[in-house]
Amino acid sequence: MDSITALLEGFATAAQPEFLLYALLGVTLGTAVGVLPGIGPAMTVALLLPLTYTLEPTAALIIFAGIYYGGMYGGSTTSILLNTPGESASIVTALEGNKMAKAGRGAAALATAAIGSFVAGTIATVLLTLLAPTIADVAVQLGPADYVALMVVAFTTVAALLGSSPVRGLASLGLGLFIGLIGTDMLSGQQRYTLGVATLADGIDVVVVAVGVFAVGEALYVASRLRHGPIEVIPVGGKWMTREFWARSWKPWLRGTFIGFPIGTVPAGGADVSTFLSYGAEKKLSKRPEEFGKGAIEGVAGPEAANNAAAAGVLVPLLTLGLPTTATAAVIVAAFQSYGIQPGPLLFTNNSAMVWALIASLYIGNVMLLVLNLPLVKIWVKVLQIPRPYLYAGILLFAALGTYAVNFVVDDLIVLLVIGVIGFFMRRHGYPVAPLVVGLILGPMAEEQVRRTLQISEGDLTALVASPFAATAYGVLVVLLAVAVVLRLRRKKNTEVTV
């Protein structure tokens, strides 16, 4: 009951005109960057991190959460209407959505994606509201060793289980952890890996790294193999408000939600996994499996709902444990930290008003996003057509600006360029960039917790696995790894048979 009162108070805050405007700004920006290829929510939040100097925490976090949710909506428009889908989280949507658009049923595909996102986003936010305080209550009792265990699980899943190449994912994680080491050690005051350079003594700013790998790395990579010629956008056709539309959509929406949310919540998968699972489920349950691959509406409705539910699910470990499991979530943790707030179980007691205003703004943002993406979808189609030379020139300009504006020193731009070039080569060779960002932000936190654990235990290493919670977490991790290995082997066998 307490949390309902708190939520209502949150609504009272979030419904103030000022905060409504911030939410609108966030979801609009988020949809725009979701629609546009080449930029995503992680980079946008990173670029806007300097805002934290001028805005109060609640306002900034409402904007960032809006960008995060909005990015999920915008991505579906692109994958349905653009002939050349990319962006992993919405790639499944492209499978059926693109076919529907080409067959003149674009309006129905866009509508089921937008309404599905809204339904899933809202239900998932309700689940977040109900679950988060309870989890936070339990999490308060976790000790440093338990946090170490959670972080090890997060590191392993983000780096090794999600990508196509575990080795490259772990290498990317290692690079992020290394960048996180640069600077002055918080506990002993020792400088590490600064090479005596004064700029490096304070460490490399998260903004510089995130903007470097996402913006500069992506721009260089796209430029190296840019698709020339006109941008082929499929015209939106057909009607969607039909009985058949609702009849075929509502069940996939709900199924997608209940597939997506748990996957987002446990640190075991980003949105991609949930969309693939939802697509598989819809294909299996469909009475017309022959339509799949030719434009089945269930194949858009389910994965899009799963996608958004997973996005909301990611906020559960983020807010209750301070554990980011996606690149965007990691950058949002950095935003909390720049206010001196550590997301985690104490958030709900120490910053209760702020958290509840943030959660309330998620409900409001979802309604705004439905309006922005259903009746106003034509605007985003225009945005999608921005000529690519200007788009990528703009991305580079704002990347350089955002980096320079952190400290107003040119040295940061040199670091940006170096990290950008590394990001470029990572993309060329299948090294995922998300583990790097997660490692950068979680690394220093993990080190602190390890050292605290061992300080308490006076160097006894068994303290790291002694608590029941930590032991369970490692046990679950071992099971997860075993399942992943079996699945990988089986997949290999299958492909060998079919080839």
Partner: protein, 163 residues
């Protein structure tokens, strides 16, 4: 194919090399011994992770398991890597960071936008005015709106442009 392999070896080697550097440099971190775990332990772990994954990436490459290049909406999988464009963009970024302190942010930014757009195939007489207007607008917004001033350079003392 051979070029891709060489690049993969080089990147794996780079990861391992950073790992070696991490390990070697960790020995120079001053550590007091009254702590159970000092500032060295974590760097050792990170160094080992980098060395192992770097070598594993090299072995994977040798066994023919190359990394899959990332897919993106604007990426054409059927064209060869255009190194000249990449080099030009890097050059434009370098010019930008050198010019900020010499002639000020507005000029350096206009050059960055124009250079990048032109390199990527925009018509120069269309890109140039957009670049100039965009740079000036950002400069004004920063100088007047946010109260953070970007170095005005040649526009020093000009109202609105110099915060």
């Amino acid at each position: 194919m051979i070029a891709a392999k060489v690049e993969e070896y080089a990147f794996g080697g780079l990861v391992a090399a950073i790992g070696v550097f991490t390990l070697v440099d960790a020995t120079t971190i001053a550590a007091r011994d009254d702590n159970a775990v000092g500032p060295r332990a974590f760097p050792y772990a990170v160094g080992i992770l980098l060395v192992v994954t770097g070598i594993a990436a090299i072995i994977a490459t040798a066994r023919g398991k190359l990394g899959q290049a990332e897919e993106a909406e604007d990426v054409d999988e059927n064209v060869r890597t255009d190194w000249v464009t990449v080099a030009k963009l890097v050059a434009v970024l370098v010019a930008h960071l050198v010019l900020i302190d010499l002639v000020g942010w507005p000029v350096a930014a206009a050059l960055l936008f124009f250079g990048a757009a032109w390199t990527l195939g925009a018509t120069w007489w269309r890109a140039l005015p957009i670049a100039v207007v965009l740079a000036l607008v950002v400069q004004v917004v920063f100088a007047s709106g946010l109260g953070l001033s970007l170095p005005a350079g040649i526009f020093e003392g000009v109202p609105f442009l110099d915060g």
